[in-house]
């Protein structure tokens, strides 16, 4: 049953990432692209956690935490740049 649930989840998250990619490429405004990139990072974290459950290994947590951290810093930096035209004032 766990394997079936994992298969369903992999398909759903892959579809979600495809939709994010669509918004990332098409997004009429720069803010839409930043949001899509951030969401892409979030779904990548979910995917990594699912891989961890499937292979029953805890090695994926560090990667997930790192991805969460970098995604946050990147989004904040891009938003700051849009707001001020500068990242560190």
């Amino acid at each position: 049953m766990l394997n079936a649930a994992l298969e369903i989840a992999f398909v759903l998250i892959a579809a979600a990432q495809a939709l994010n990619l669509y918004r990332l490429l098409r997004g009429p405004d720069l803010c839409d692209r930043i949001l899509a990139l951030d969401t892409l990072g979030i779904s990548a974290i979910a995917l990594l956690l699912l891989f961890g459950i499937r292979s029953a290994s805890t090695a994926y947590f560090e990667a997930a935490l790192l991805l969460a951290l970098l995604g946050f810093v990147g989004t904040v930096a891009l938003c700051k740049f849009l707001l001020r035209g500068d990242i560190i004032e």
């Binding site: 369903i8 994010n20 949001l35």
Partner: protein
């Protein structure tokens, strides 16, 4: 792993993946930026939260550790940063909207002022900007 906890883990995984998917549908289909911001924030909190919970239940008691705490770190970090990210994105979106509205009205000078610290009085968070000015008068 007992059949009951396996069932719970499977249900949480499907629920989480469903929320991530729904958030992305919202991102792709909703009409303007501020409504599009609404979808993925739910994907972050409920979607990834449910998957992390499933992972915590799955790894708890399996190896040497009684309770798996790695997930808690990720969960805490995501829950703290999600509102900050959403706030900054909404602010950036509002600024760009205000700027292009002023450009469309032919007021180029006011549009340029949105980017700098002396914002126009009609600007949504002009009070906040002024407070920043008073705190750091010669910052640039």
């Amino acid at each position: 792993m007992s059949p009951v906890s396996e069932m719970v883990v499977a249900a949480l995984i499907v629920l989480g993946a469903l929320f991530v998917f729904l958030g992305s549908i919202g991102l792709a289909r909703l009409p303007d930026f501020l409504t599009r911001l609404h979808g993925p924030t739910k994907a972050t909190t409920i979607g990834v939260g449910a998957i992390l919970l499933a992972s915590a239940i799955f790894f708890s008691g399996s190896e040497s550790t009684a309770v798996s705490l790695h997930e808690l770190a990720i969960l805490l970090f995501l829950f703290i940063t999600a509102p900050i990210t959403a706030h900054l994105l909404a602010k950036a979106g509002l600024h760009r909207q205000a700027r292009s509205a002023m450009r469309a009205a032919g007021d180029d000078e006011a549009a340029d002022r949105v980017m700098t610290r002396e914002s126009a009085p009609s600007e949504p968070d002009a009070g906040c900007q002024r407070a920043n000015d008073e705190r750091a008068p010669a910052d640039r």
